[in-house]
Amino acid sequence: MPVITYRDALNQALREEMRRDPRVFLMGEEVGVYQGAYKVSRGLMQEFGERRVIDTPITEEGFTGVGVGAAMVGLRPVIEIMTWNFSILAIDQIVNGAAKMLYMSGGQVKIPIVIRGPGGAAHQLGAQHSQSLESWYSHVPGLKVAAAATPYDAKGLLKSAIRDDDPVIFVEGETLYGSKGEVPEEEYLVPLGVADLKRRGNDVTILAWSKMVNVALAAAETLANENVSCEVIDLRTLRPLDERAIADSVRRTNRCVVVEEGWPYAGVGAELADVIQREAFDDLDAPIERVTGADVPMPYAKNLEHLAMPAADRVVQAVRRVMYLD
C-alpha cells in the first residue's frame, strides 16, 4: 500500500471529489496560484482551472459567506481557511449562517459545505496563531466537526465531509501535514461519527483526536513498559460523537484520560467527561483525568510553549493518577 503524507492524502481527497462532482470547488487564500499556504491544494488549479480553484482576497468573513451562499443553491464548496485562527473573522457566517440555515428555513435550505484548514499550535507561532477552536464549533447544533490524525483518515474523512449534506468543520493538524501513513489506491470513505480504536488495552481508556492521538500513543507505549495496558481511541469526529465507542471502552477499562490540545475550560474534554459519567458512572473506578493545553494564551518562548502543550509525559502522569500508582 502506498505511503503518503497527510498533506497529499488531503490533496487526493480534493482531487478525487472534484473529478467526481462538478459542483465541488475550492476557495480560499493562496489555494490557487500559490498552491496552498501548506501545499494541500498543490496542482489543483492546474487540473481544474481558475473557475474551480479560486484565490480570494484576505476576507475571511466574505469568502466563507460566499461559500455558504453558493451552498444554498446547490454547489458543494470547500472553503480553505488558511488557519483556523482566522475563522474567528468568519464565525458569523459559520454559526449564524451555515449552522442555522436548514433549521430556520424549516428544512428548505441545505448547506453542503466543508470549511477546512489547520488548527492547533505549530512551533513558536505565538498567541494568535496557536489555538484549537474545535470546542467552539462542536458547541453548535447544525455543524459537524471532524479532525483526522492520520493520512488514511484525513483522506477518507474529507471525502465523506465533501459528500455530506451538512456543514462540516474539518480541522487538520498543522504539524501533521508532513506525517506519513498508508493510504490505499482504491477509493474508500471514512464515515463521520465513527471513532477508531488505535490501540487495544485493558487498564485505561485514553481519548484523543488529531495530533494528540500521537501523544496518547507515545504515552501508551511508555506505560506498556510499566505493565499498564492503555486503550487509545481516536475520536476522529467530535460532532457527531461516537458515544457508544467511548462508553463501551470505559465500561471495560473503568478508567479514562482525555487528551486535548485546546484550553480546558468548557473544552471538548469536559463534554466527554459528561458523556462518560452519564453512560458509565457505575463502571468508573477513578475520576476522569484531563490533559489539556494550559489555560493561557500561547506564549512564544520555546520553553514556555512546551510547558503549555499536552505532552506524553503529562499523559503518563495522568494515567498513573487514575491507576492510583503514585
Binding site: 468573513e61 469568502f63 460566499v66 447544533p141
Partner: protein, 364 residues
C-alpha cells in the same frame, strides 16, 4: 433628540416632481395592468403590515417584528423587475419582500404566528422567512451578515452559467459592516450578477445616518470598488423600478454588480417594540415624511394619467384587505408545530441523530 455635529443631509434625494419627470422620461414601458399591479402589491404590503401590527399587539405574533410601512415602494419596485426564478436576500424587515416575490400571504402570516403552516414551518419567525419555491433565500437578522450570502449565490450563478440574478436588500446601517465591503470587493473582482439595494430609511434603529456614517451618500461607497451605483427616491415605485431594471440588466447580461441606494422612510418604529417617534426623531419629522407616502404618491400619478380612479383604488384596497383577513384566519386556524419538530432539520437527516438533546430524548 441629541444635537448633531453635522448638518442633517437632505434625504429626499430627488424632489418628487423631478422624480416624476425622470420616471416619465425613462417611462419603464409598463402597461396599465403592470402599473396597477405595482400599486396593488404596495397596498397588499401596507394592509398586511398594518394588520401584523395589530396581531402583534394581540400577542398573536411574538418576538421582534419589523414593519415595512412607508418603505413599500422599494420592495415592490425592485422585486417586480425580476423573473420568477431570480433570487432575493433580505434583512429582517422582509414581510413585504416575501409577498412581492410571490409567497402565499397565508403562509407568511402563519410564519409570523409561529405555526406549522408557515413558510419556515414556524421555526423562522418574522425575521427568517424563507421560500425556496419563490427564490426568497431568507430574512436574515444579523445586520449585513447576509450580504456575503447573496454574493455567494451570485457566484454560483456565474459558476454554473445560470441566467438568474440576485437582489440583496439591507438597510443603510449595514454599509458600515465589514461584510458589506468584503462583498462589494469580491462581486466587483469576480464580476458577479448581484444588485445590492440599500434601503436607506435614514435610521439604523434610533441612530441617524449622519451620526453613524462619515459619508452620508451610501451610493458613493460603491466607487471604492468600481461598482456602478445610483441613488433613487425610494418613495417612488416607478423610479425604483426604473433604476433596478437597469441594474438587473447589467447583472443578467454583463454579469456586473451594482449598488442602488433607495432613500425611503419608515413610518413606524424600528420594530414593534419602539414608538413611531421618540428620542431620535420628532413627530413633526414623521408627519412631514408621511406626506411622501409612496402609495398615495403613486395613486395620484395613476389618477392623473386616468389609469385609476378613487373607486378603482378602493376596490383594489378592499381586495388587499380581504387577502390579509384570509391570511390571518388561515394563520389563526393553523396548528402550532408538533413537539417533534424541535429536533427536525438541525441536520439534513429527517430526525437528526446527532444533536445531544435528540440523543437524550430517544433514550428516555
Amino acid at each position: 433628540m441629541p444635537e448633531s455635529r453635522f448638518p442633517i443631509p437632505d434625504f429626499t434625494v430627488v424632489a418628487p416632481d423631478m422624480a416624476k419627470e425622470q420616471a416619465a422620461e425613462r417611462a419603464p414601458a409598463l402597461s396599465r395592468e403592470q402599473l396597477l399591479d405595482l400599486l396593488s402589491k404596495m397596498l397588499l404590503g401596507r394592509r398586511f403590515e398594518e394588520r401584523a401590527a395589530e396581531m402583534y399587539a394581540m400577542q398573536k405574533i411574538g418576538g421582534f417584528c419589523h414593519l415595512d410601512i412607508g418603505q413599500e415602494a422599494v420592495a415592490v419596485g425592485a422585486i417586480s423587475t425580476l423573473r420568477p426564478d431570480d433570487y432575493i436576500f433580505c434583512s429582517y424587515r422582509e414581510h413585504v419582500h416575501a409577498l412581492v416575490k410571490g409567497s402565499d400571504p397565508r403562509r407568511v402570516m402563519a410564519e409570523l404566528f409561529g405555526r406549522e403552516t408557515g413558510l419556515s414551518r414556524g421555526k423562522g419567525g418574522s425575521m427568517h422567512l424563507f421560500d425556496a419555491e419563490t427564490g426568497l433565500l431568507g430574512g436574515h437578522a444579523i445586520v449585513g451578515g447576509h450580504i456575503p450570502l447573496a454574493t455567494g449565490v451570485a457566484f454560483a450563478m456565474k459558476y454554473e452559467q445560470r441566467p438568474q440574478v440576485v437582489l440583496c436588500f439591507f438597510g443603510e446601517a449595514a454599509v458600515n459592516i465589514g461584510a458589506f465591503h468584503e462583498s462589494l470587493n469580491m462581486a466587483a473582482l469576480w464580476k458577479l450578477p448581484v444588485v445590492y439595494i440599500c434601503e436607506n430609511n435614514r435610521y439604523g434603529m434610533g441612530t441617524a445616518i449622519e451620526r453613524a456614517s462619515a459619508i452620508y451618500d451610501v451610493a458613493q461607497r460603491a466607487c471604492a470598488y468600481d461598482v456602478a451605483s445610483e441613488t433613487v427616491d425610494g418613495m417612488d415605485v416607478l423610479a425604483v423600478y426604473d433604476v433596478v431594471s437597469r441594474a438587473v440588466e447589467l447583472a443578467r447580461h454583463q454579469s456586473l454588480p451594482s449598488l442602488i441606494e433607495a432613500r425611503c422612510y419608515r413610518f413606524m418604529g424600528h420594530s414593534m417594540s419602539d414608538p413611531v417617534h421618540g428620542h431620535y426623531r420628532s413627530k413633526q419629522e414623521v408627519e412631514e415624511q408621511k406626506l411622501r407616502d409612496p402609495i398615495r404618491h403613486f395613486f395620484e400619478q395613476l389618477a392623473a394619467q386616468g389609469a385609476l380612479d378613487q373607486k378603482g383604488f378602493e376596490e383594489m384596497d378592499g381586495k388587499a384587505r380581504r387577502v390579509v383577513e384570509d391570511a390571518i384566519a388561515f394563520a389563526d386556524a393553523s396548528p402550532e408545530p408538533p413537539p417533534r419538530a424541535l429536533f427536525e432539520d438541525v441536520y439534513s437527516e429527517p430526525y437528526g441523530p446527532y444533536t445531544r438533546s435528540a440523543n437524550r430524548e430517544r433514550r428516555t
